[in-house]
């Protein structure tokens, strides 16, 4: 228990502290240390011997263990990248390369503090077993990440942050309504709104309230998670945020909202309403995949393309969870794979952006020529995110397809495959056009901090495609079990 509390408090304290630390060097050191310590703490907490009882407000089951370690890992990667990133950013004003206006980054202390607080909020969101507490934490992630999005304080990032804040806040408010309704389901006696209580009394829950609650929470957390058509803020925010932040937003933060939905679905499944939520999730999943595919197809901005790809993958996750059974396992595995791959892609996109000074895909050629490592990572990431072997995404996407087919939902299967193809075709055109050919900028030696994290992520993505580590597999099976699915 203390371990879990420590995991939450560490980044919170460090985040608050970094607002007050003046010297850059110390603040960056604090950032790095916190990230590393957090990962160590998360892993330790996830070890079987440190299991905690699950009936408190916070606790760690397999589901949260997976997401926590994943988040922590991504954060460390983003930290390694991010420290180099903020160090390279000029402190004085600079010219915007798109509209030519002058802008000035926000102070580094705010950036560092916000990103550490974001980590704290995410950790809390993952670990909390009280639905309202989880809501508080998820809303807190929105608030902590808004300053990160407008780090550059130029017109586009402000616009993106505004839309992010408004849309997510509205969505989250809707989710709060949903939580009220969940509370109504156990109206008969004053119990705390913890998962333990709800699951224990699952059979007695009022289905009518539960279905209403599910709808509110699906729309609410779905907004935050980026399910279409509530995803509209996502491409703006993810494309305008600094790349390490985009990586965190896409790789980790979306998962937190996803976890919120998972928890409701867990309750629904325990209450025998798995198919009610499942059908809605499948619907939203398909809509997200399809819409994202459409927007990927003619995308002019490669970071937006990645953002839409996140929407697509959130759709896949929702679809898998909606299917239940094997789909749950596939979906959770896919969440892991997608986070790692997407983080790697956003970090790589950051490298491309800082070298080519444009986000316009039509103006970039020969990334592989100019930035050999980033170019290779860019193509590898494209293959990974579209689900090609040997990357783990292939395994999980195929597992979800098998789940669809196993249930004999032929229309869903057909749409699923068509939408995957759509995204593939769209991304192939863009990524290949960017990566191949001769570049107009000179080849440079890439600093280690810019390529280390994406490289490590790429290696992990490949490893997950050929080998599933035992503990991870166990946790995934366990988590799928929690959600009511049996994994084959």
């Amino acid at each position: 228990m203390t371990l879990l509390l420590l995991t939450i408090l560490l980044p919170a304290v460090a985040g608050t502290a970094s607002y007050f630390i003046r010297p850059h060097r110390w603040r960056r050191l604090l950032w790095g240390t916190t990230a590393a310590l957090h990962l160590a703490l998360s892993v330790t907490a996830a070890l079987p011997m440190n299991a905690t009882p699950l009936d408190h407000w916070i606790g760690m089951d397999s589901l949260s263990a997976i997401f926590l370690v994943l988040t922590s890992l991504l954060f460390l990667g983003a930290t390694v990248y991010g420290i180099g990133y903020v160090a390279r950013e000029p402190v004085t004003g600079q010219l915007d390369f798109e509209d030519g206006s002058l802008f000035k980054n926000e102070p580094e202390s705010i950036f560092t503090g916000a990103i550490l607080l974001l980590l704290a909020a995410m950790t809390l969101a993952i670990l909390s077993r009280h639905l309202a507490l989880q809501w508080v934490a998820i809303e807190a992630t929105t608030l902590a990440s808004a300053p990160l999005i407008y780090y550059h304080q130029n017109r586009r990032s402000l616009e993106a942050a505004w839309k992010y804040l408004i849309l997510c806040s509205v969505g989250i408010a809707v989710a709060l309504l949903g939580i009220f309704f969940i509370r109504m389901t156990i109206q008969d006696s004053p119990h705390e709104l913890t998962l333990a209580t709800l699951l224990e009394r699952a059979s007695t829950l009022n289905h009518k309230w539960l279905s209403t609650a599910f709808i509110f929470m699906l729309v609410g957390y779905g907004t935050k998670m980026g399910l279409a058509p509530m995803h509209t803020w996502l491409p703006d925010a993810h494309s305008e945020a600094p790349s390490p932040v985009s990586a965190m937003l896409s790789g980790a933060l979306l998962n937190c909202a996803f976890l919120g939905i998972l928890r409701v679905q867990q309750i629904c499944a325990a209450a025998g309403m798995a198919s009610f939520g499942g059908d809605l999730l499948i619907l939203f999943g398909l809509v997200s995949m399809g819409l994202a595919g459409v927007f990927i197809l003619r995308q002019a901005d490669y970071k937006r393309m990645l953002a839409y790809s996140s929407v697509e993958h959130m759709g896949i996750l929702a679809l898998g969870v909606g299917l239940g059974g094997l789909g749950l396992f596939g979906s959770l595995l896919h969440a892991v794979n997608h986070s790692i791959v997407k983080a790697m892609l956003f970090l790589t996109a950051g490298n491309i952006l800082s070298r080519f000074h444009t986000k316009d895909t039509t103006k970039i050629q020969g990334v592989r020529d100019a930035l050999p490592i980033s170019g290779a990572l860019w193509i590898a990431g494209f293959l990974a995110v579209t689900g090609s072997p040997p990357f783990g995404t292939f395994i999980s996407e195929f597992t979800i397809l098998r789940a669809v087919v196993d249930q004999g939902r032929w229309v869903v299967a057909a749409l699923y495959v068509v939408f995957l193809l759509l995204a593939f075709v769209g991304m192939a055109g863009i990524v290949l056009r960017m990566a191949l050919g001769r570049s107009e900028v000179n080849r440079v030696r890439e600093p280690l901090t810019t390529v280390l994290s994406p490289l490590v992520f790429a290696v992990i993505a490949i490893l997950l495609g050929v080998y599933l580590p035992g503990p991870l597999a166990d946790k995934l099976h366990d988590a799928a079990q929690l959600l009511g699915g049996m994994a084959k």
């Binding site: 505004w162 839309k163 849309l167 809707v174 009022n206 289905h207 009518k208 279905s211 209403t212 709808i215 509110f216 699906l218 729309v219 907004t223 058509p229 509530m230 509209t232 803020w233 491409p235 009610f276 809605l280 459409v294 927007f295 197809l297 003619r298 596939g330 595995l333 020969g366 592989r368 020529d369 293959l383 090609s388 072997p389 040997p390 292939f394 395994i395 195929f398 597992t399 397809l401 098998r402 087919v405 196993d406 299967a413 495959v417 995957l420 193809l421 593939f424 075709v425 192939a428 055109g429 290949l432 056009r433 191949l436 050919g437 001769r438 599933l468 035992g470 597999a473 994994a487 084959k488």
Partner: protein, 661 residues
């Protein structure tokens, strides 16, 4: 079996190794050594499997959902290994010299080449759906990287894109295929799938998926669009490996799935026969219209895949009609043609590569007279040309003969469908053979014979030994299989047995007849060679010392011929391409000279791929256009975005909330 896996792992390990010395000249040599070593090791179990030994399958646990690392090597797999084991090392050796002048690091290309080789071998041994798909995509991805080796050229990038999309569409079909099969069998292991027992309707659906999925790789018309783009774009030794070997994995996959699906229906056989005829005839027709040497060869791959498919279709019909002869000889001819095509097609690509390497152009109409400066390349290219046209005494004839044989021996007066089949196969093969001969008369004749049509061709030189000897070895193989036809057929029988199942047993007699005929052919071929040599010797001695005179070609009285007045590839093929003009859609640009003092004028023909031009491009454009309005939903207005949320919420509440209690 472990030995086989070891043989697959070695190239990959050395491939990864050379990534670290990417820039070194030795990189490609070390990687090639890995291919040789790996293939050498893998050859041991393959040969023993072909010799009839049953190798114990290898099962390793794999904790991926539905996955298991199960490997096996039956007759079918072992036979399909042969082209890989033969071509891959030779092409690797060739590639070392071919790419030696490149300025870019060769490490990645060598790495992907090795991965491609290993993944093809693993694919043949894979006995689990998930494993199969992983290796399948690995193969596609590694070959994609090889295709875009020259990525500074726009057409290469475009070819890479086309290839990637085409192969991915095929893979999508395969994903569904294996998912459905896994559902039926409750496992992704092939053993269990074979016992699943699919209903006829389900089996037909699976068959269609397999044809789409594997056909995209193999190059069935109209899924062949990537071939004429990718093969010219890739470095020649890669084209050789891809065209000669990799596309055959599509055939392998189709056959493998057929073994799992149970009893075929006649409709499947007809489907394949029709696909075979269309691919064969139109493939060669398009080839005739090309004047890019490698593009021409790529279309010939489509044609030969058509011939292979004809054989397989005949075999399937044999299974459906319970005609053992048709089964064994149809499958036998088709599968043997896989090996034969691998040999001569890779030889042709290597030859084309030598030409490109030495002259710097692939345009047939700019070449000419190369046989005088590139004797080895010329002669081996000639051998391959004759072989691919199905002419005796080379290997192409042997497999085509088997397919003819199957068709003719299966024909029964009482069964009109057999007659239709035979008309299709015999007429089709004859037409394809005639057109192929025409096309290679053009390709060889214009490239290697006559006078150089440009300075490129005039300054050609013979290529180095590492490029020469692989070609000679392959030419030897062409002749060898032609002369040892019965032995080659013995090699293919284990593979046929896997596909044909019970049908193979009752066909001993027809196999024996075919064997006698093949023996006859082998003797006839040997006799032919002896006769040619004998006559040539006689001819040499006939003049008895009278001197040979060298003079100009008969010019019909026109005293100042120039090399540019020679017949060109385009003009040579024009009568035939005119026959097929409704399919080809050849575009002509230019004007004929007019007036008493005509100005200089140009004339140009271009034959883009019809399937690409009239099917896929409009389809893609249509999809793109119809999707465009959807993009209006993201036009930046936060009010609209909020409205979406509100509408979704209200709709869901109206639809679902409180509905049931």
């Amino acid at each position: 079996m472990e030995l086989f896996i070891l043989g697959c792992v070695i190239p990959i390990v050395l491939g990864v190794g050379v990534l670290s010395i990417s820039r070194s000249k030795a990189a490609s040599w070390i990687a090639a050594f890995g291919v040789w070593l790996g293939c050498g090791i893998a050859a041991v179990p393959v040969i023993s499997a072909l010799a009839g030994h049953v190798l114990a399958p290898l099962q390793i646990a794999w904790n991926m959902p539905g996955g298991s690392l199960s490997f096996g090597l039956d007759g079918l797999s072992a036979f399909f290994c042969l082209p890989i084991l033969l071509i891959s090392p030779l092409a690797a050796l060739y590639g070392c010299t071919y790419l030696a002048h490149e300025k870019k690091p060769l490490g990645p290309a060598s790495f992907f080449y090795n991965v491609l080789t290993a993944s093809m071998l693993l694919l043949l041994a894979a006995r689990n759906g998930l494993l199969f798909l992983v290796v399948w995509e690995l193969m596609a991805v590694s070959s994609f990287f090889l295709v875009v080796f020259d990525d500074e050229k726009a057409h290469v990038r475009q070819a890479g894109w086309t290839y990637l999309i085409a192969t991915h569409i095929g893979t999508a079909a395969l994903l569904v295929l294996f998912a459905i099969m896994g559902r039926q069998a409750n496992s992704l292991d092939f053993d269990l799938m074979a016992k699943a027992g699919f209903s006829p309707a389900m089996a037909t659906a699976l068959f269609v998926l397999a044809v789409i999925g594997f056909g995209a790789k193999a190059g069935f018309m109209p899924l062949h669009v990537w071939l004429p783009e990718a093969h010219p774009a890739a470095p020649s030794h890669v084209s050789a490996l891809m065209s000669g070997v990799m596309i055959k994995t599509g055939i392998y996959g189709l056959l493998r799935i057929l073994t799992l699906l149970g009893n075929p229906s006649a409709a499947w056989g007809w489907t394949l026969v029709v696909i075979g005829l269309v691919s064969g005839i139109l493939g060669v027709a398009f080839a005739l219209a090309q004047h890019d040497l490698k593009r021409l060869l790529a279309y010939h791959s489509v044609e030969n895949i058509g011939i292979i498919t004809l054989g397989i279709g005949a075999g399937l019909l044999g299974l459906a009609w319970h005609q053992p002869t048709l089964v064994v000889l149809g499958f036998g001819g088709g599968i043997l043609h896989v090996l034969n095509h691998a040999i001569f097609k890779s030889l042709l690509f290597l030859g084309a590569g030598a030409v490109v390497h030495s002259t710097g152009t692939r345009d047939i109409d700019h070449l000419g007279g190369l046989i005088k400066s590139m004797r080895w390349t010329g002669v081996t290219f000639l051998v391959a040309s004759a072989a691919i046209s199905g002419l005796p005494p080379f290997n192409g004839f042997v497999s085509e003969f088997l397919i003819y044989f199957a068709a003719f021996s299966g024909v029964r007066a009482g069964a009109p469908e057999t007659v239709v089949l035979t008309i299709g196969i015999a007429g089709g093969l004859a037409l394809i053979g005639g057109l192929a001969a025409a096309c290679f008369a053009k390709a060889f004749g214009i490239v290697f014979l006559g006078e150089p049509r440009s300075s490129h061709a005039a300054h050609a030189h013979e290529v180095g030994a590492a490029m020469r000897w692989p070609m000679v070895a392959l030419a030897g193989a062409c002749l060898g299989i032609g002369l040892l036809a019965p032995a080659a057929v013995k090699l293919v029988l284990p593979a046929v047995r896997v596909v044909a199942g019970d049908g193979a047993e009752s066909s001993a007699e027809s196999v024996a007849t075919a064997m006698r005929s093949l023996t006859g052919i082998a003797y006839a071929s040997a006799g032919l060679l002896l006769l040619v040599v004998g006559l040539f010797v006689i001819r040499r001695y006939l003049p008895r010392g009278r001197e040979e005179t060298a003079t100009g070609t008969w010019d019909c009285g026109y005293a100042r011929p120039t090399p540019r007045m020679q017949y060109t590839a385009s003009s040579f093929a024009q009568p035939l391409t005119d026959l097929f003009r409704i399919f080809l859609g050849t575009r002509k640009r230019g004007a004929s000279p007019a007036g008493f003092f005509p100005q200089p004028t140009t004339f140009e023909t271009q034959t883009p791929d019809a399937a690409r031009e009239y099917l896929f491009a409009p389809l893609f454009r249509l999809i793109d256009r119809s999707l465009a309005p959807i993009r209006r939903m993201q036009r930046g207005r936060i009010h609209e975005y909020l409205l979406y949320i509100a509408i979704v919420l209200v709709l869901l509440l109206l639809w679902k909330a409180g509905g049931r209690s």
